[in-house]
């Protein structure tokens, strides 16, 4: 018997942790149909041979002979064999079921129309009042519900006590205490969930309204009963939505003019009587019910809120200290990622990759594979993909650090601090995180822009993210710094990064004026408690990112590498090219070179490098090396660079161009996906490239005028 469970709850309620615990690695990430909202589904870890412990993981023990055997004699937690696979659908984190955001609409439609067998409502037990607001709405949707009170470990350590039975009685649904991060209570959650799903237990009738509101609600429910039932909607749910002025529901019910008029009368007179408008009445009613229920079910430790959390917060968001602390944090992140530690990891990993390529190359030779195929595979594909892969450690380290900051709750504070400055650009504090990630790699940064509330904010943020100079450009900067500014590495690097940030501000202001008029969506955000990130969660996120990166490397970049290899190995007559200069790539580059002349680098080598940089920014370095006939890390290379770029000024303008022009294809693909439109993505990269050219040209020409270089 196949079941589908929906997982619903607030953001920051530990929903992701619970989802991971329940599904393990059996996850699939996609999108909800037609929208760029992430959808995760997974299979609940199911039993093997009818015996299992915590969520279906068999237990292995060493027998007397020292042999590992599967424990077959488990007496604990037996889940009956009739429970076969369960699909769990992770709904977006939401605070309510209003009609105003995509996430809320998706969630309510999924539950009401697709009718999962069960809704598991995860509730942050350290934050009951606001979490239960969603719960009350979920109970009206006509599907079985089980409430999972999460973070009970924190509740206990704080000394609070929750009467679960009383809560069950008050809500009319099972309430299970769990701690997702510790893995506590999950067996019971699964057991009771299966039970409720199997018996299709609907929530008990819950009447939360009093007085005039009560009368009005039921009067409206009665009026819309027929239309609602005909559309398979619970009358009470429909009436509640009408109470809230929910336009989609009004449209869906398709009521007669007369009925709508009567309903309006009822609601207006209730508003007058209550002294509040209708949506406020409904919200107020819910919160009153919750307050009363909590008074009866919860005993709080009179010592009050978490002192440690407040004290940490006192420093991190201190009026004076906050910004310095923030800058230190960010510098630390970059130092770890790009500094000695990061470089060491990259070198080690690149060594591995290069070694692997060598092995493959040798194997191919031994197997007598044709030379041109070997060339294609080793020099073309492997080296190309390998150079991108070699960059993976940097992304992962950066991502690890940013994940830790996010899971600990600090990122929310950073967004809080950044809201004011970002507002000047027409963005809000939330844009901060994607932009931060852009310093690592544009691709995950662009993807994290999903957390923005509106399409406009998302697109705007995505357009500015590539200005945050990504990690792949670091080798380029490093090489040029060594060749042209050997005594001032730090200054040059910092200057380049600052330039990127400055340009993003300029671009932001322009975009705000001419493209994204007006302000960003309101910045109303929960500040979650500070928590220690779980290694397991962070580990899983890194793993997901790594998988995603590798997948991209082996598809998009693989393809791109093939194309570039092809273009550089053959002439337009499709004969083998003796040198890159003869090849198609060389011809194209030669054709383009004059375009870069005003910017000071109008030679074939530079324009070839620029072209290959479209595939992956690391290619710029390798192309320049190949073209100049030197090994990348050699002294010869530096000298060759100086002959390709005769003046320091032309090197500077080239660097600026590389800093600003379009990002790699992988980023372009991500843009197209997240912006939802090829047109937007195209104009974004076209605009960036144009800007890059303008800046490079202005700097070069200006420099010439000033007599430098």
């Amino acid at each position: 018997m196949h079941y589908t469970f929906a997982l619903a709850g607030n953001q920051n309620s530990g929903k992701t942790t619970l989802f991971n615990q329940l599904t393990g690695s059996n996850q699939h990430v996609g999108n909800w149909p037609g929208v760029t909202v992430e959808q995760k589904t997974g299979t609940m870890l199911h039993h093997h041979h009818g015996k299992q412990t915590h969520l279906g993981l068999p237990v292995w023990r060493r027998s007397g002979h020292g042999v590992l055997r599967k424990e077959t004699d488990l007496k604990e937690t037996r889940v009956p064999e009739k429970y076969s696979d369960v699909t769990i659908v992770d709904l977006p984190g939401i605070y309510s079921l209003s009609p105003y955001s995509m996430e809320e609409i998706i969630s309510r439609n999924y539950i009401v129309k697709t009718k999962p067998d069960l809704v598991i409502n995860i509730v942050d037990a350290t934050n009951l009042e606001r979490n239960l607001y969603l719960t009350l709405q979920l109970l009206q949707l006509g599907r079985p519900v089980v409430v999972a009170l999460n973070m009970m470990d924190e509740v206990r350590s704080h000394g609070d006590v929750i009467d679960l039975k009383a809560m069950e009685k008050a809500l009319g649904v099972p309430v299970v205490a769990i701690s997702a991060r510790k893995g506590e209570g999950l067996d019971e959650l699964v057991r009771r969930s299966m039970d409720v799903a199997e018996h299709r237990q609907l929530p008990g009738k819950l009447d939360i309204c009093r007085g005039e509101a009560h009368k009005a609600l039921h009067a409206v429910a009665h009026l819309v009963e027929r239309n609602a039932m005909a559309r398979d909607i619970t009358p009470l749910y429909a009436a509640t939505k009408l109470f809230e002025g929910d336009e989609p529901m009004i449209a869906e019910l398709d009521l007669s003019e007369e009925t709508r008029h009567i309903i309006e009368e009822i609601l207006s007179s209730m508003e007058k009587e209550q002294g509040m408008e209708r949506a406020a009445v409904m919200a107020d009613t819910r919160y009153r019910f919750i307050e009363e229920m909590l008074t009866a079910c919860v005993i709080r430790n009179p010592e009050g809120p978490d002192k440690l959390s407040d004290r940490i917060d006192g420093v991190l968001t201190h009026r004076v200290l906050a910004i310095p602390v923030f800058l230190v944090m960010m510098l630390l992140v970059f130092y770890i990622t790009f500094g000695p530690f990061g470089s060491m990891v990259v070198d080690w990993f690149s060594g591995l990759v290069d070694g692997g390529i060598q092995v493959m190359g040798n194997a191919l030779e031994r197997w007598g594979v044709a030379l041109w195929v070997r060339e294609l595979v080793v020099k073309g594909v492997f080296t190309g993909v390998g150079s991108v892969l070699g960059f993976m450690p940097t992304i992962l380290i950066l991502f690890l650090l940013l994940s830790v900051l996010e899971d600990s709750g600090y990122m929310a504070r950073a967004a809080f601090l950044m809201d004011r400055p970002l507002r000047k650009l027409g963005l809000n504090g939330r844009s901060f995180i994607p932009m931060m990630m852009g310093f690592g790699c544009s691709v995950p940064a662009i993807m994290s822009a999903r957390s923005m509330g509106t399409q406009r904010d998302r697109r705007f943020t995505i357009m500015l993210t590539p200005f945050m100079s990504c990690g792949a450009k670091v080798p380029i900067y490093a090489l040029f710094t060594a060749a042209f500014f050997p005594d001032h590495p730090v200054t040059v690097m910092t200057a380049l990064y600052l330039m990127g940030i400055l340009m993003s501000i300029a671009a932001g202001l322009l975009l705000k004026r001419y493209v994204f008029h007006g302000d960003a969506s309101p910045f109303i955000m929960e500040l979650p408690s500070y928590r220690l990130p779980t290694p397991r969660n962070v580990g899983r996120q890194i793993w997901e990112k790594a998988k995603d990166f590798i997948r991209r490397a082996f598809t998009v970049i693989f393809l791109a590498t093939l194309v570039v290899w092809f273009l550089q190995s053959f002439t337009f007559n499709l004969t083998a090219a003796q040198s890159i200069g003869e090849s198609m790539l060389g011809s194209i580059a030669g054709f383009l070179a004059p375009v870069f002349a005003p910017a000071g680098f109008g030679n074939v080598q530079a324009s070839t490098a620029v072209l290959t940089g479209i595939m992956a920014k690391e290619s710029v370095v390798s192309t320049l090396a190949v073209l100049s006939g030197a090994e990348v890390d050699s002294v010869e290379m530096l000298a060759n660079l100086r002959s390709i770029f005769p003046s320091t000024l032309s090197a500077i303008s080239f660097l600026l161009f590389v800093l600003l022009y379009m990002p790699c294809i992988a980023a372009f693909a991500a843009m197209r996906r997240e912006m939802g439109s090829l047109r937007w993505a195209f104009w974004t990269v076209a605009g960036q490239t144009a800007l890059a050219w303008v800046v490079a040209t202005v700097v070069y020409q200006g420099g010439l005028l000033l007599g430098i270089g």
């Binding site: 350290t126 406020a280 107020d284 809201d419």
Partner: protein, 103 residues
């Protein structure tokens, strides 16, 4: 109802450390609904914990959690005018279950 908002106290008028009780929630459409959903309803007690370094946005504590809100939006939330010493509502009194909880 008077429309002279200058004379009405709003959430934006609180000083860090001060509490207020909401009288009326303004804003329109999605914003209005979102404010309500996040627990800013008539009658709720809200504490202004602190502001960001430049005074905007605000960090509010209500219903046991922390919420950020811009000053512009805070101005849309009118407070009850005459509550001087608003107390922390707290939750259950220790006497809710004198015999301890049933098992």
């Amino acid at each position: 109802m008077t429309h002279e908002n200058q004379q009405l106290r709003t959430l934006a008028d609180l000083k860090p450390g001060e509490r207020g009780i909401v009288a009326q929630v303004g804003g329109e459409g999605a914003l209005h609904r979102h404010l309500l959903d996040m627990g800013i309803t008539p009658g709720v007690s809200i504490l202004l914990q602190k502001t960001a370094p430049m005074g905007d946005p605000l960090e509010l504590h209500l219903r046991g959690y922390a919420l950020t809100l811009r000053v512009d939006d805070a101005r849309k939330i009118v407070l009850r005018g005459d509550d001087e010493d608003v107390e922390d509502p707290g939750y259950a009194t220790p006497n809710a279950h004198p015999q301890g909880l049933p098992h």
